[in-house]
């Protein structure tokens, strides 16, 4: 087996094996270390001997033995150190059947995404333990050094162990908050992969992991609508990747992307996930978000009119369920297309500006609305603010191009809300 093929086996086995060991021994670090040890052993053994028929079962067996040995050593050590051996009750589970790997990935995901673990660490820990990504790759995606990322992961594991985060699936009363935490973690991880419009960005290669992870989640929670909706959303977004930047590396907004360049097979998969979600429950916010993507994805060519009225209706429905500044802002883009930039500008002022101060798209939307409403001076200022906040190269290039379209400053500016600077 080639090095790359071996790495693939290790990655795919990670969630299954670490999950099963963590559930059995109630110790994430022990589970992860034992799995690493079994991978190291495999690298040695499989280069001289034949690769076993079931490599994953082999890895699990070796990892489970390693974990048991480590526990025995720890036990003996503790017995020696304290003289409480009689009371010390840390028996490894008697079941010694290491051939059947129980599927405990769902438990592992819920542990990694516990709301008491820091937001950044949740996504990183999920990528590390469930998807088996090396720390270095995760560090690159989060733009931190490998050491910093390793520390962040260690800190999260210490928190899980020492603050008493349970290894059970959440009880009914905790389910909504915990499920939401899992889904938002995956959204954050995917946003990292999606942020960079060009496919060559440092995050792009784990977009594939997100497709796989969301598929797994749907398999593990077949009765829940939101995981299926998220699996759909991730696919719709990924399908558009080839159309998101032009040859000069400039971002192309959704309404101007050539639908002929969208990946139809991914859209087909997304539609299936969305249908499934709607059948289970058409109401949750994530289902409506996926429907917004679906509305766009139904466009076959640039000749088809953009589905703005449908998109606006869906944003109205979404706002009813999740009234936050970001949903309001996205809705305003649709408002401006259906009812005009002036109407959208008037509503923009009703959004809590405080919450949007560091949110780059706010300035971009505002600049665009001001430009279209003919408020040249205010538009230029807003473009500069947008450019000062946005780091993505493709988006910066697009904003710079849009800024050049601004009519002479001081030209007509109708709406009263067009920025207090001019009043």
């Amino acid at each position: 087996m080639s090095g790359a093929a071996l790495e693939r086996v290790f990655r795919e086995a990670s969630g299954r094996i670490v999950g099963a060991l963590a559930a059995r021994f109630r110790d994430l670090t022990l589970a992860e270390d034992a799995f690493s040890e079994s991978c190291a052993r495999a690298l040695e053994d499989w280069s001289v001997e034949e690769v076993p028929a079931d490599p994953v079962a082999w890895l699990y067996h070796v990892a489970a033995r390693t974990a048991l040995d480590a526990l025995r050593r720890r036990h003996t050590h503790q017995r020696y150190e304290s003289q409480l051996s009689a009371e010390f009750d840390m028996q490894p589970t008697p079941e010694d059947d290491d051939t059947v790997i129980p599927d405990e990935r769902l438990r592992l995901i819920f542990i990694c995404c516990h709301p008491a673990v820091s937001v950044d660490a949740r996504a990183a820990l999920t990528l590390r333990l469930v998807c088996g990504l090396p720390t270095l790759e995760i560090a690159r995606a989060f733009l931190v050094s490998e050491t910093t990322m390793a520390q962040r992961l260690t800190r999260a594991k210490v928190k899980i162990a020492d603050a008493g985060i349970p290894f059970e699936l959440p009880a009914v009363q905790f389910w909504p908050e915990r499920l939401d935490s899992v889904l938002s973690t995956i959204e954050i991880a995917y946003a990292k992969a999606h942020e960079e419009a060009a496919a060559s960005g440092p995050y792009a290669h784990f977009a594939a992991e997100m497709l796989e992870l969301t598929r797994t989640l749907v398999q593990l929670m077949p009765g829940e609508a939101e995981p299926a909706a998220l699996a759909a959303t991730v696919r719709y977004a990924e399908a558009r990747r080839p159309a998101r930047v032009d040859d000069e590396g400039v971002m192309i907004p959704l309404s101007e992307q050539d639908p002929g360049r969208w990946q139809r097979s991914l859209i087909g998969e997304a539609n299936q996930f969305l249908n499934r979600a709607v059948e289970i429950d058409p109401n949750p916010a994530r289902v409506i978000q996926a429907q917004i993507h679906a509305a766009w994805s139904s466009r076959r060519s640039l000749e088809d009119p953009p589905p703005w009225p449908r998109v606006l209706a869906l944003y109205d429905a979404l706002l009813f369920r999740r009234d936050d500044p970001i949903v309001r802002l996205n809705r305003l883009v649709a408002v401006s297309e259906v009812h005009g930039a002036e109407a959208a500008l008037t509503q923009l002022d009703s959004i809590d500006q405080e919450l949007l101060r560091n949110f780059a798209p706010y300035y971009a939307v505002r600049a665009d609305l001001l430009r279209r409403a003919g408020c040249g001076e205010a538009a230029l200022k807003a473009y500069d603010e947008a450019l000062a906040t946005i780091s993505s190269q493709a988006e910066r290039k697009w904003l710079t191009r849009q800024k050049r379209l601004v009519q002479a400053p001081g030209s007509r500016c109708v709406p009263a809300s067009s920025g207090h600077e001019e009043a």
């Binding site: 008491a116 673990v117 937001v119 660490a121 210490v158 020492d162 985060i165 349970p166 009363q173 908050e177």
Partner: protein, 115 residues
């Protein structure tokens, strides 16, 4: 009257994984202090590291759970409960029921135990 004595110190000296003569000395002094207090000591305990804290924040009636200790804003420490709970989820569930006048935060911190 009863009084709560809340101890604030530099965690880089007494925090998790720390040991050494300085820490041992202060532990010894705490043991002495407890003896000296006798019946005047109603209760008390060391806490695990601030990094193991979880904060349940209520903002405009909405409760959210965060990693980390209470970050000082306009609220002040107004009281505490010492509770028994099988795990962090159970502790958070109880923390969410703590009555608050308006907005506020409950920091959930594991207590240093024998285990």
């Amino acid at each position: 009257m009863q009084y709560a004595l809340l101890i604030y110190e530099d965690e880089s000296i007494f925090g998790p994984g720390k040991s050494g003569p300085k820490l041992q000395q202060v532990v010894g002094r705490h043991i002495e202090f407890v003896k000296e207090l006798g019946a005047k000591r109603v209760g008390g305990s060391g806490l695990k590291a601030a990094s193991l804290a979880t904060t349940v924040r209520t903002t405009r009636g909405k409760q959210t759970t965060h990693d980390g200790p209470f970050a000082e804003t306009k609220e002040q420490l107004g009281g505490f409960y010492l509770i028994e709970a099988p795990d962090l989820d159970a502790a958070i569930a109880i923390a969410k029921k703590v009555p608050l006048l308006e907005d506020g935060a409950i920091e959930v911190r594991p207590v240093l135990g024998p285990g």
